[in-house]
């Protein structure tokens, strides 16, 4: 009787716990708090946090290669590059490229913000990361979760947990990170600029845009194909107006299903041994740096464009060039209306905002081509 009890205790996970596991529990609980209480990106942070918790319970072997349940999700979903493109399919089915088509100049703002991403790449090298790791960290500045996960899983899979969590966490913190930078780099006068109304966009234009964009980008940067093809397919579903069922399936059911597997597998990569590493702190620091620099680069790009434009744009919308749809656009709108309460920048900011998504994918594809 006593022996059976003793064996039960010694075969339990509890005796194999390490200090690291306990720290990771703490990380998981912090994320639970942020997701449930603060509602920061709960759709992702909640499954991520649970993934972290269960993978740090010893002897469960959930991430054991070839055996563990979550390992299968991770292997077939993320290592096989299936989940991030499927999320893009859903995003495409939700995004309205109308403001971008009405004002194509904003594509340049989407490119401007990506310049910040390469500055971060440089900074990460200085911090002692290798090229592949630096590329994965830099892409955090693109403020796009699926792209960050896609690129990191190709270049530096051991950093996946850290880059994904910092991308999603900072995206939720956009309303706190961006305004100081916006106020620093623009004058009160510039923030008051009211932009001319967007021209109406016809249905045919909206249908043509995803086709033209998909062809162009895939011809020029083929490594962007998995993400951009799905994004534009989703958008074509939506804009064609003839396959409402597919649009809804992509944007709702499919998106929600893969989000569960995405969050859980990302969380499960964060075992104590991979995550409790001084490098991770640097990643969080550099991720924040990336957001700040990309915001700045977008703002400066807008100011640069204003030197040549007759119809001035409000430089604030440059800050929406980091993707983070639609948090960044909302943030621009808010700061703009603080300066001038009759300034409604929301739709103007959606242009660079969705351009930022395209820009980040292109930037990721170029990094992949050079470093992969």
């Amino acid at each position: 009787m006593f022996d059976i009890l003793k064996e039960l205790i010694f075969s339990s996970g509890a005796v194999s716990l390490t200090g690291g596991n306990l720290v990771m529990w703490l990380v998981a609980f912090v994320l639970f708090y942020l997701a449930i209480k603060k509602q920061y990106e709960p759709l992702l942070l909640l499954p991520i946090a649970f993934g972290i918790l269960v993978v740090n319970l010893p002897l469960t072997f959930l991430m054991e290669p070839e055996h563990g349940l979550i390992w299968f999700f991770y292997h077939y979903g993320i290592e096989f590059d299936i989940i991030p493109p499927l999320i893009f399919l859903g995003l495409g089915a939700m995004i309205d490229f109308g403001p971008l088509i009405a004002n194509p100049k904003t594509l340049l703002l989407g490119a401007g913000a990506q310049a910040g991403l390469y500055v971060t790449f440089f900074a990460a090298i200085l911090f002692g990361f290798d090229l592949q790791e630096a590329g994965s960290i830099a892409i955090i500045g693109g403020a796009d979760g699926p792209t960050t996960i896609y690129l990191t899983s190709k270049l530096a899979p051991h950093l996946l947990g850290a880059t994904a969590v910092s991308a999603y966490a900072y995206m939720a913190l956009v309303p706190i990170i961006q305004p100081p930078m916006m106020k620093l780099l623009t004058t009160e006068h510039e923030r008051k600029i009211v932009m001319t109304k967007l021209r109406p966009v016809s249905r045919l234009q909206k249908v043509c845009f995803p086709i033209v964009t998909a062809m162009t980008i895939m011809l020029v940067v083929p490594p962007a194909a998995p993400l951009i093809s799905m994004l534009m397919l989703g958008n074509l579903f939506k804009e064609s107006g003839v396959v409402e069922r597919l649009t809804n399936a992509s944007a709702n059911e499919l998106m929600n299903i893969v989000t569960i597997f995405l969050g859980l597998s990302i969380g499960a990569t964060m075992t104590a041994t991979t995550f409790l590493n001084p490098k991770v702190l640097f990643i969080f620091f550099l991720g924040l740096f990336a957001f700040v620099v990309s915001t700045g680069a977008g703002l400066l790009m807008a100011k640069l464009m204003n030197l040549f434009l007759k119809d001035k744009i409000n430089p604030l919308i440059g800050a929406a060039g980091v993707s983070a749809v639609p948090m960044a656009a909302r943030c621009v709108h808010k700061v703009g209306s603080e300066a001038n309460r009759r300034n409604y920048l929301l739709m103007h900011a959606m242009g660079p905002n969705v351009a930022g998504v395209i820009g980040t994918v292109v930037a990721a594809a170029i990094l992949l081509k050079n470093l992969g």
């Binding site: 971008l100 088509i101 194509p104 100049k105 594509l107 340049l108 989407g110 490119a111 990506q114 310049a115 991403l117 390469y118 790449f121 440089f122 090298i125 290798d130 090229l131 590329g135 016809s202 249905r203 045919l204 234009q205 043509c208 845009f209 033209v212 964009t213 162009t216 980008i217 020029v220 940067v221 351009a355 395209i358 820009g359 292109v362 930037a363 170029i366 990094l367 050079n370 470093l371």
Partner: protein
């Protein structure tokens, strides 16, 4: 580990230039297609009312 600075510079510059080139190209194509569609749609209005489906 030794950092390969020439590679760093290459990635850095090719990245920035590449992103801008692609986005500028996309901008030109979007403007072009918008203009073409505007033309097509204004023709369509003259001829018939069912121009919407035509490309």
């Amino acid at each position: 580990m030794e950092t390969n600075w020439s590679k760093v510079i290459e990635v850095f510059s090719s990245g920035i230039i590449g992103v801008f080139l692609v986005m500028v190209l996309l901008q030109i194509l979007t403007q072009l297609s918008t203009r073409v569609i505007d033309l097509v749609e204004s023709w369509g209005k003259d001829e018939s009312s069912e121009s919407e489906v035509k490309k």
